[in-house]
């Protein structure tokens, strides 16, 4: 299949490339497979990433194929050594992954729900992120981790976190947040090939999303954002699922004659200062949309960068639309209230531009 729609998410230069409409979850798995085929040093660890073993034969059953079936089928192709089911010992196996990365492998760790990173936090922060620096550049840590974030699926307070801001705070770690099938392919490949520890945060609400994905192999440079929509009146900054929210808000704004530009940050650490400044220099107004809680968040960070480096271009206050400063509630209505919605973005923009 070939696309030529001008409004494709790939930006200029991609018109006419071969590709197809794919689900986020499928291209995620395909990319893992491609990277494992490409490099024998890549292997995967996590709980139930194949899932279950026959008691008599000891053969893997692939009963789960990972949370949300993310890795289904891979154990048949790569075997139990490289698709390695773990006990529920996140600190232990993230630490082992760091040790393995320090000694020549390129481990990829599935942490299941993002919330569980807290039990492995020390290994991530004190070992993975610091080893290169504190050892004076002697070594590198080519480790990739991923986990599922986000509210909206009734998983409640301990299975719905979006606290990627805390990871982005950590020097030595990189953080990427794909928002569609195109970006997850390029970012996951880039993460696995990168020689630094990279955490890929995958909002649950994206898992069944479909979108155009080029057939060709490509990576997306870590640290780069992209325009999802060009506009002149206001810049909407999204990341992970809020990029979708921003696009929906932009559609609604268009109906009332407000021409919004939408940026998808894609990477949170490092991140693309230039695209923020460039866009705000044009639109002079900005709303940052983040599902993470607001205090000391990436929304704060982008606001701070804009308030410093694009200050002279600003016509109005720098606005954030975020989740409230609270844990994630369970009940559906409460969850909806908790998450930033397109209507919240629209309301904020209208107020900002005096269009109420």
């Amino acid at each position: 299949m070939t696309t030529s729609q001008a409004n494709n998410p790939l930006g200029p230069g991609y018109e006419g490339v071969a590709g197809s409409e794919m689900r986020f979850r499928d291209i995620f798995r395909d990319t893992l497979r491609a990277e494992m085929n490409r490099d024998d040093d890549v292997f995967l660890m996590g709980e139930d990433i194949s899932g279950g073993f026959d008691k008599d034969t000891k053969e893997p059953l692939d009963a789960w194929g990972g949370p949300f079936a993310a890795t289904k089928g891979l154990v048949q192709e790569f075997g139990v050594e490289r698709i390695r089911d773990t006990p529920i010992s996140e600190a232990g196996f993230v630490g082992a992954a760091v040790g393995s990365a320090l000694t020549g492998m390129r481990p990829v760790v599935d942490l299941m729900y993002f919330d569980f990173v807290t039990v492995a936090f020390d290994q991530l922060l004190s070992n993975a992120a610091k080893s290169r620096y504190m050892f004076g550049g002697q070594t590198k840590v080519p480790l990739t981790l991923f986990a599922r974030s986000g509210a909206g699926t009734g998983h409640a307070a301990q299975h719905s976190e979006s606290f990627y801001s805390m990871l982005a705070h950590i020097p030595g770690l990189k953080v990427v947040v794909p928002s569609d099938p195109y970006s997850v392919k390029g970012l996951l490949a880039a993460a696995i090939r990168d020689d630094d520890p990279v955490f890929l945060v995958n909002d649950k609400k994206l898992i069944n999303l479909t979108g155009f994905v080029p057939d060709e192999e490509y990576i997306i440079e870590l640290g780069k954002g992209r325009y999802m929509r060009r506009g002149t009146d206001v810049t909407l900054v999204g990341m992970s699922y809020t990029s979708v929210v921003c696009q929906q808000a932009a559609d609604q704004l268009a109906e009332i004659g407000i021409d919004a530009e939408v940026i998808d940050m894609m990477s949170l650490s490092p991140f693309d200062e230039d695209i923020l400044i460039e866009s705000v220099a044009k639109t002079n107004n900005v709303v940052i949309v983040d599902e993470d809680t607001p205090r000391a968040s990436m929304a704060s960070e982008f606001a701070a960068v804009i308030a410093d480096k694009a200050f002279d271009h600003l016509d109005s206050p720098v606005k954030r639309v975020t989740s409230p400063h609270s844990p994630v509630p369970y009940s559906r209505d409460l969850e909806i209230e908790f998450m930033p919605q397109p209507a919240d973005v629209v309301g904020t923009v209208k107020k900002l531009l005096g269009r109420e």
Binding site: E47, D48, G51, G52, F53, K55, L61, A63, W64, D85, T86, P87, I88, S89, A91, G92, D115, F116, T118, V119, T153, G154, H155, A156, A157, Q158, H159, P294, R295, A299, K319, R320, V321, T322, S323, P324, H325, S326, P327, P329, Y330, S331, R332, D333, L334, I336, E337, F338, P340, D344, G347, T348
Partner: protein
């Protein structure tokens, strides 16, 4: 048998209540009346029942993602539990917690917990409170956890702490053979998890977790030790969950039918019924009247939950803190 008639009735009521709550809840969840993830514990009725039979509201338990049985054993009301799973305002946590966070502090129930292993030190802390207040004899801490949770470091830290401080704690391992689809023979490097107790200077016992009397006896001994100030015990109960890991999990992908049938034959409720009728401790009539009452209770619970209102959305902003109202309604 050394159990009072009243206690026997309580045990049967509790086990049957757990069984039917789980079945009813699962049915409702599959109908779409519950909104989130739910883990059922039918099949595993004996461990919480046999243990909590020795406890009062002043004792504390810590629970897991699979917490309904613990809640019911500790005396929580099934209508408020059902309403919580349905996300209703009348739920045990006002709809904010859901299945994985049901708690009742007035009943000594420290909450179900969604992070594997995370509730273990909470029970140690409750026991520490008892020690500091000098009320170990009336307030012990029981930590329920699974075979999968035995791989979490915090269990070991907690066992060591409870042992060096001689705290009144029961480490209650419900070994149902699986953590999600992962069999314990794959993930646990010991034949019996209870064998690890020795390395922490405490007794470790393996108990048939399908036999509530066996659990009751082992728990009675451990809790008596705890109340006497003699420190913690690790009890491993070999048990089985009848349904999937969570409501949408298909066990046939990783468990053999023979295995499932084997455990169904050991069914703890049937075993109880056989035992008490054979020993003429309870009549079939009495058993039936208990079952009937529970059936009605379940109908009522579902009705209560269905008819209850959703929580007001303004409650999103409540209760983040006790002493400070949340100033940021999402910066919108």
């Amino acid at each position: 048998m050394d159990i009072s008639k009243k206690k026997l009735e309580w045990i049967y009521t509790t086990m049957y209540r757990i069984r039917r709550f789980e079945e009813t809840m699962l049915e409702q969840t599959l109908k779409g009346n519950s909104m989130g993830v739910a883990h059922t514990s039918d099949g595993q009725e004996a461990p919480p029942t046999g243990i909590c039979a020795h406890l009062t509201d002043k004792d504390w338990i810590g629970s897991t993602h699979r917490g309904h049985g613990h809640c019911i054993s500790k005396g929580l009301e099934t209508d408020k539990m059902m309403a919580e799973v349905f996300g209703k305002a009348t739920g045990q946590c006002g709809g904010k917690g859901g299945s994985m966070h049901i708690s009742d502090f007035s009943k000594g129930m420290l909450g179900a917990n969604g992070i594997v292993g995370a509730s273990i030190p909470l029970a140690v802390g409750a026991a520490l409170t008892a020690k500091l207040k000098g009320i170990e004899n009336e307030s012990v801490g029981v930590s329920f956890f699974g075979d999968g949770a035995s791989s979490q470091g915090v269990l070991h830290e907690s066992m060591n702490l409870a042992s060096v401080w001689k705290l009144p704690v029961i480490f209650a391992c419900e070994n149902n053979g699986y953590a999600e689809a992962t069999p314990s023979w794959y993930a646990v490097s010991a034949e019996d998890i209870a064998s690890r107790a020795e390395g922490y200077g405490m007794p470790g016992v393996v108990v048939d977790g399908m036999d509530v009397f066996a659990v009751y006896d082992a728990a009675g001994e451990a809790i008596a030790r705890a109340r006497a100030g003699e420190g913690p015990t690790l009890i491993e109960m070999k048990t089985y969950r009848y349904h999937g890991h969570f409501h949408a999990d298909d066990t046939s992908k990783y468990r053999k039918p023979e295995e499932e049938e084997y455990y169904k034959k050991l069914d703890s409720i049937k075993h109880f019924e056989r035992t008490v009728t054979k020993q003429k401790l309870m009549t079939e009539k009495k058993l039936k009247s208990i079952r009937d009452a529970i059936e009605q209770e379940m109908l009522d619970a579902v009705e209560f939950a269905l008819n209850s209102p959703m929580p007001d959305v303004s409650t999103v902003y409540d209760d983040v803190y006790v002493n400070y109202s949340n100033p940021i309604a999402g910066l919108r």
